[in-house]
C-alpha cells in the first residue's frame, strides 16, 4: 500500500513537471502546427485542447503496454510505427464511439479529433514516456500533464490573439509570424521553471 501511495505521489509530481517544467509545447516545441492554426478563438482552442488531453492520456497508457509487448518480442525498433498506428486507430475508434453515442459532442469536436492523429505532440509524449522509463501510473500522470500543459499554452495563445485583433501588427507579421514571436516570448517565460521538480 505504501509503495502504491508513493507511485501516486510520483505520478502527481510528473504531472506537474509535464505541465510547467517540461511543457511539451513551449520547451520541446511539439504540436506547433495546430497551435498556430487553431488558436484564433478561445472556444475552438478549448475544444482542441480538451481533445488533446483525453487522447494523450489514453494513448500513452495504451502505448505503455504495447511497448512492453515489443520488449517481450524483442522488436523495440518497431515502436515508431506501432505507436503511430495505435494513435490513429484509437482516434478513429473514439470518433466512431462518440458519433454513435453522443452526436452533440461529436459536432462540437468536429474536425479536431481527426486532426489530433497527426499532432506530433501525441507521438512525442509516447516516445518521451519510453525514453524517461516511466512506470505505468507515472505514465498516466505524464500523459495527462503533457496534454494539460499543451491545452494551457493554446488557451493562453488564443486569449492573446483575440486581444491582438485590436492592435496594429505590421502587415508582414500578421498571422503565423506574430504567433511564432508570441510563442517565443511565452517559451522565454517558461524557462523560469527550469529545475522545478525534475
Amino acid at each position: 500500500m505504501n509503495s502504491f501511495g508513493y507511485e501516486i505521489w510520483l505520478a502527481m509530481v510528473t504531472c506537474f513537471a509535464a505541465v510547467f517544467t517540461q511543457n511539451i509545447l513551449l520547451t520541446t516545441f511539439l504540436g506547433m502546427c495546430p497551435f498556430t492554426s487553431v488558436s484564433r478563438e478561445v472556444k475552438t482552442a478549448a475544444g482542441l485542447g480538451g481533445a488533446v488531453v483525453f487522447v494523450m492520456t489514453c494513448t500513452t497508457a495504451i502505448n505503455y503496454w504495447a511497448y512492453k509487448l515489443l520488449i517481450y518480442l524483442d522488436l523495440e525498433f518497431f515502436r515508431f510505427i506501432l505507436f503511430i498506428i495505435i494513435i490513429a486507430a484509437f482516434v478513429q475508434f473514439v470518433e466512431m464511439v462518440i458519433d454513435r453515442y453522443s452526436p452533440k459532442l461529436y459536432q462540437s469536436l468536429g474536425i479536431f479529433l481527426p486532426l489530433i492523429t497527426v499532432n506530433c505532440a501525441i507521438l512525442g509524449a509516447s516516445l518521451f514516456m519510453v525514453i524517461r522509463e516511466y512506470h505505468f501510473i507515472q505514465t498516466i500522470g505524464y500523459g495527462f500533464g503533457a496534454g494539460l500543459g499543451w491545452m494551457l499554452a493554446i488557451l493562453a495563445m488564443a486569449g492573446i490573439r483575440t486581444r491582438l485583433n485590436e492592435s496594429r501588427v505590421p502587415e508582414g507579421l500578421r498571422g503565423p509570424g506574430i504567433t511564432l514571436i508570441i510563442a517565443g516570448l511565452m517559451a522565454l517565460a517558461f524557462i523560469g521553471f527550469t529545475g522545478v521538480l525534475s
Binding site: G159, L164, S167, L188, A189, F193
Partner: protein, 361 residues
C-alpha cells in the same frame, strides 16, 4: 522662451505635408510637445476634458520612480546616470524610427520603459548590454505589437529576460557592493576596472548561507541587488504615491504581495530549515519593485477587477515557486511575464462568467 517659440513657428512648415522634412514630422512634434503644450486643437467630437491623458499618467509613474532613482544613485554611484541615458537613447531611437515609418506622433509610453529598464538591471551591467536589452524589449515587446497601449508584454521585462538568458554569466556576476556613509557612492563611478567592488551576491543568492537582517533589507542598507530594487522604503514612497493617485491599481499590488507572503509563510511553517520566512521574501529581490511598478502596467495586466486579483495571485505564487524550487534565484521577471501571458485569457474567463451570470438573472 519666446525666441524658441519663434524658431518652432518658423520651421514648422518644413515638416508639414509637402515640406522638405515631412518624413520626420513625429520627431519634430515630440520636441515641440516637450517644450510647449501642443498647439494642435481637437476639431471634432468627442471632446474629453479629463486631464489624465497618457502624458500625465506616465509623468506620475516617473515621479513615483524618482525615489528609487535617488536611492540607486546613493547606493551604486554615478554609473546609474549613463545607464539611464543609454537606455533612453537606444529605446528612443527604436521608438522614433517606428513612428516615422508609421507616420504617427511619438507616444509618451517610452518615457517609463526607458527609466524602469536600467532600474531592474544589475549595477555593473555593461552599457552595450543596456542598449541591446532596451532595444530588444522595445522592438519585440512593444513596437511589433503596434506600439504604446497595444503591447501584450511589459517591454522592460522582455528586455531583461532576453539579457538574462542570452548573457547569464554577466547578468549573475554584475552585482556591486552598495556604498554607505553620508555620501554613499555618490561621488564614485564604479566600472569593471575596480574589481573589488564587483563581487557581492544579492540576499537571494546568499540565502543559502544565512539570511540577511530584515531591517537592513527594508532600508536597503548594505544590500546588493538590481539598481532600483534594494530599498523597500524608497519603493514604498513611490509606490504609495502611485496608489494614491490611482495610477497603479491597489488590487494587483495587494494580491501579489499578499499571496507571495502567505504562500512563503506556509512553506516556512512546513520546513523552517529550508524556506525563509514570508516577510523576508517580501523585502528580498525585485518582488516589491515588480509588484508596484511593473505588474501594475495597465496595458499588459487584465482590465477587469476580478481578473486583477487572479493575475496578482498567479504572479505571487509563481515568484515563490521559482525562487524556492527552480534553478533561478530570482523569479519576479519570469512571474510577471507569465502573468502578462495569462492576462488576456483571465479577462476572457471573467467576461464569460459575467455573461453567464447576466443570462441567469
Amino acid at each position: 522662451m519666446r525666441v524658441l517659440l519663434k524658431i518652432f513657428e518658423k520651421i514648422s512648415p518644413i515638416f508639414e505635408e509637402g515640406g522638405k522634412l515631412a518624413a520626420i514630422k513625429p520627431l519634430y512634434e515630440a520636441i515641440e510637445n516637450f517644450c510647449f503644450a501642443p498647439s494642435a486643437k481637437a476639431r471634432c467630437a468627442p471632446f474629453s476634458r479629463d486631464p489624465l491623458d497618457i502624458k500625465r499618467y506616465m509623468t506620475m509613474v516617473i515621479i513615483g520612480l524618482l525615489p528609487c532613482v535617488v536611492a540607486s544613485l546613493y547606493f551604486f554611484g554615478l554609473r546609474v546616470i549613463p545607464m539611464i541615458i543609454v537606455s533612453y537613447m537606444t529605446g528612443g531611437t527604436v521608438e522614433v524610427v517606428f513612428s516615422i515609418i508609421r507616420k504617427e506622433p511619438i507616444a509618451e509610453g517610452f518615457l517609463v520603459t526607458g527609466l524602469i529598464f536600467p532600474l531592474i538591471l544589475p549595477p555593473a551591467t555593461p552599457l552595450w548590454m543596456v542598449a541591446l536589452g532596451c532595444a530588444f524589449g522595445v522592438f519585440v515587446g512593444k513596437e511589433v505589437f503596434g506600439g504604446t497601449g497595444r503591447n501584450l508584454f511589459n517591454p522592460a521585462i522582455v528586455g531583461r529576460c532576453f539579457l538574462v538568458l542570452a548573457y547569464p554569466a554577466v547578468m549573475s556576476s554584475s552585482w556591486v557592493k552598495p556604498g554607505h556613509g553620508i555620501t554613499g557612492r555618490l561621488l564614485e563611478y564604479v566600472s569593471s576596472a575596480n574589481i573589488e567592488a564587483i563581487t557581492s551576491a544579492t540576499p537571494l543568492v546568499e540565502a543559502k548561507h544565512g539570511l540577511e537582517d530584515m531591517s537592513h533589507m527594508f532600508m536597503g542598507l548594505d544590500i546588493s541587488g538590481c539598481l532600483g530594487e534594494t530599498s523597500a522604503l524608497m519603493i514604498l514612497c513611490g509606490g504609495i504615491f502611485l496608489l494614491l493617485t490611482k495610477v497603479a491599481n491597489w488590487r494587483t499590488v495587494v494580491s501579489i504581495l499578499g499571496s507571495a507572503v502567505i504562500f512563503e509563510a506556509i512553506l516556512h511553517r512546513v520546513n523552517p530549515e529550508q524556506f525563509a520566512p514570508g516577510m523576508w521574501h517580501l523585502f528580498a529581490g525585485g518582488l516589491m519593485f515588480g509588484a508596484f511598478f511593473m505588474a501594475t502596467d495597465p496595458v499588459s495586466s487584465p482590465s477587469t477587477n476580478e481578473g486583477k486579483w487572479m493575475y496578482g495571485i498567479l504572479i505571487g505564487v509563481i515568484v515563490i515557486l521559482i525562487r524556492n524550487f527552480s534553478g533561478y534565484v530570482e523569479g519576479m521577471m519570469f512571474a510577471i511575464l507569465l502573468g502578462n501571458i495569462a492576462a488576456p485569457i483571465i479577462d476572457e474567463m471573467v467576461f464569460s462568467v459575467r455573461l453567464r451570470l447576466l443570462k441567469n438573472e
